[in-house]
Symmetry: C3
Subunit: 346 residues, 3 copies
């Protein structure tokens, strides 16, 4: 009986609450061309004496990014935590909400925003050359409307919030490598902190990490930057090609991803995204603590291109610990950083 | 108490029903040499202006296939839905049933049928050179007997039906690339529509998709076809080799897989199979709708070689949507098609 | 109510039993340089007529291994089952126990033991150059203390015991390929056979298998062995390089892994570990029986580098059956063996 009552009360709660609290979440996002530095510290922060091998020869590339703004004047950028790196602004909602994503293409080619997981019609899909949203010309704007329906929300085996990825989808392969990638977090109905704060009540801090090898070989973005510091041509020597494969977590290599800090006792949710091509099989591994991955206890989470998964950790072991892809060639190439659990009381 | 009663009633039901409804399912299958066209439309149906790049230079190859027949005269072929493509006939059963698979090797080399998931003895394994079933000579026949026991049926976390793959296993690697692959669907006891229709009651339409890069380089099947339209020699130029890697879903590339159509409101089950080698990490991705994958909400399902998994979707968002592998090199190589949800009332 | 009572009684049981039965498990382990033969039989045991192709040209390599000893005199080796192959000694504990791992570096370079899953402080992590345990000089000893806490134990969706891997982590990439890898099994509190026997009560026999392609090209270990039988230089010819990629299960190729034998009716647990780099996507596949993988019924389990997973099988189908990676290039390269279910009464 206990189970039946729970289901009934949830259904009743949803019927009432959906009218009371369903919310439209607005975000303003521009696509912009930027210089991106995969290692702002200019060195290997994990093993300083080792250097960065072929991957250290060229660190700054011309990229495109989604940049968040506070309103439709597109004058004030939203502030992102340091650990978000190259990722676009994070869109957050509760099951039942609606997104209004105002997109302004400030870059030099047609772009779009295509979301995973959301419910959209053809006009708002941002892909497949269908509807206005699929092909936003430079200088133009488009507002996407996406419904965060039940089937965009956590499933029965998922934790209280899950991650979806969004990316440009005019020429999706090119634009993924451009850097036009961001994340969406959807919280299960009833698990939000409040109407205004869609983050889940059972999580203290959440991080979102994109594991992707950015292939900078022959990138179009680079060809426009002759004579500048950022300059690159494809070379025939294999090392040159390898050195342009930036094995990044959130766009950073060799420990340059910073800010992954939890307080002692924090319930941490790690939202993980894989992306890329055949070399992009990744295995996220934490030292210091294990995670619960859909009921499975592990400290290694498997990611293939466009895997989106969310796992939970209790951060109760103080220290600064390695956090890296466990694929050996990726360790060598710098897909490594550290995360920290502060001592009690800090 | 509720749970205990349910388990008891299921057990009682199974004791009675297994004698009443356990069924022998007979299928007649021949292995035959065929010409296979990876893109019958002769063009890129997704982005027509893009063409098919190196993968368009050669579209027809000599393959082997499993062909279904209506009876032991092997005169009338069974009709397959268009979306089944290169796959052999689908064998369907309910937990507790027995398969009798009558195999007729109409091809030019020894072949077999080896099933995943089924219970067999050495005589009926169709592999490892053991028993008659492991090595059926050209022109010969063999009837495989497989038991669909409890451990061939859906597990507690699985949906009401699951997919298994079968393939030839004399020289399994060669024969998988030959095209000698098919699928088996097993429905959980009690979930079948009727004794005569083993399909599950909680599903309206089901599709089975094989994600596999057919490596046509140096294929034996090709060497027998000199002087014909279907003609191929390994070239040293890398593009030639790449162009013979056919990044196919059910044997079709660049939107040539057709017939993935659901009615509005259909409960759709997608049976997914991966196959192949180190390049065959695939991530099946639907636009338009998400799926429930063992309790996990997602729109991307990970497949490694010989992964077999079944996921569920509610097809209530009308439109024609992209459906593709999300590995970037595979998008470029044409591992893409579309699926459709009809408008209400159609 | 039933569930609430169960949870309460488990909690009460744990409060009492943790003081009664929490145990310190001691192991003595040395790192040693050894000659390792990937195919002691000297031939392809699966398809004898096929031979071992390029992988048969060189079978013995200089490796490092973790060797178990019975006590601190390091004079008597512990006996390992034949199927353990190159793996180091298996550390076994119950949730709540503590490990004391006495490590003696008898090799010629600094090494360590870094465990997955366990709780440790920086001194005992065995990695990241932190603390004494991270860098044990040749001829030196260090005792690691690891806590087998709740978050090292099986999760709610896991079976009653799970596997973790341990490996050296001074230069982890090099040392993984050296062969410095072993396993840890943790049994859920209350599921152990007895205080002295931490193995789970609901399992009759367990096997632990490491799927990893040992890349012997340019291995340091080899450079020290000039003039001996074990001798290797990197060649430019691609076949030479390929032939040094040893596609091994527990360090054996082409059916040379032996001892995977179950009695009729045994409840078998297969602990599976992936390891390596981009080529190391593996799909463990059994002929003869299926497994239950976290509630999913299958006969293929996906492994990426450092995946650790445990699946269950009922061994009730007598015979000697193939057991192999289902990635086609890996079948060709010998990542294949056989396992056996004895007839009733044997």
């Amino acid at each position: 009986m206990k189970h039946r009552i729970s289901v009934l009360s949830i259904l009743i709660f949803m019927l009432f609450s959906s009218h009371l609290s369903a919310t439209t979440r607005e975000y303003w996002v521009a696509a912009e061309k930027v210089d991106w530095n995969y290692a702002p510290a200019g060195k290997n922060m994990i093993k300083p004496k080792m250097g960065m091998s072929v991957w250290g020869k060229q660190l700054i590339y011309k990229k495109y990014r989604y940049i968040g703004y506070t309103d439709g004047s597109y004058s004030t950028r939203t502030i992102q935590p340091e650990w978000m790196g190259i990722l676009g602004p994070q869109f957050r909602a509760v099951e039942g909400d609606t997104f209004k994503i105002h997109f302004y293409n400030k870059a030099d080619k047609p772009l779009s925003i295509h979301p995973h997981g959301m419910r959209y019609d053809e006009q708002n899909e941002g892909a497949d050359m269908k509807g206005e949203g699929a092909y936003v010309l430079p200088g133009k704007k488009f507002t996407y409307t996406w419904t965060v329906d039940h089937e965009a929300a956590p499933g029965p085996a998922d934790p209280s919030s899950i991650v979806w990825v969004y990316h440009s989808h005019v020429d999706s392969v090119t634009e993924i490598y451009d850097g036009l990638i961001g994340s969406i977090i959807v919280t299960k109905k009833g698990m939000e902190r409040s109407v205004d704060d869609p983050r889940p009540r059972d999580v203290d801090v959440a991080f979102t990490n994109l594991y992707m090898i950015f292939d900078e070989n022959g990138r179009e973005a680079i060809k426009h930057t002759k004579g500048k510091q950022v300059h690159h041509e494809i070379k025939e020597h294999e090392d040159e090609e390898e050195g342009n494969l930036m094995h990044a977590i959130n766009g950073y290599v060799f420990g340059n991803l910073k800010g992954l800090v939890a307080k002692h006792g924090d319930r941490v949710r790690w939202h993980l995204i894989g992306m890329g091509t055949e070399v992009d099989l990744h295995t996220a591994h934490w030292h210091g603590k294990t995670v619960l991955d859909h009921g499975r206890r592990t400290d290694v989470v498997e990611l293939l291109p466009t895997t989106m998964t969310s796992v939970d950790m209790l951060a109760d072991n103080p220290g600064t610990w390695l956090y890296h892809c466990h694929v050996t060639d990726h360790i060598t190439a710098g897909m490594v950083t550290r995360w920290t659990v502060l001592p009690k009381g800090k």
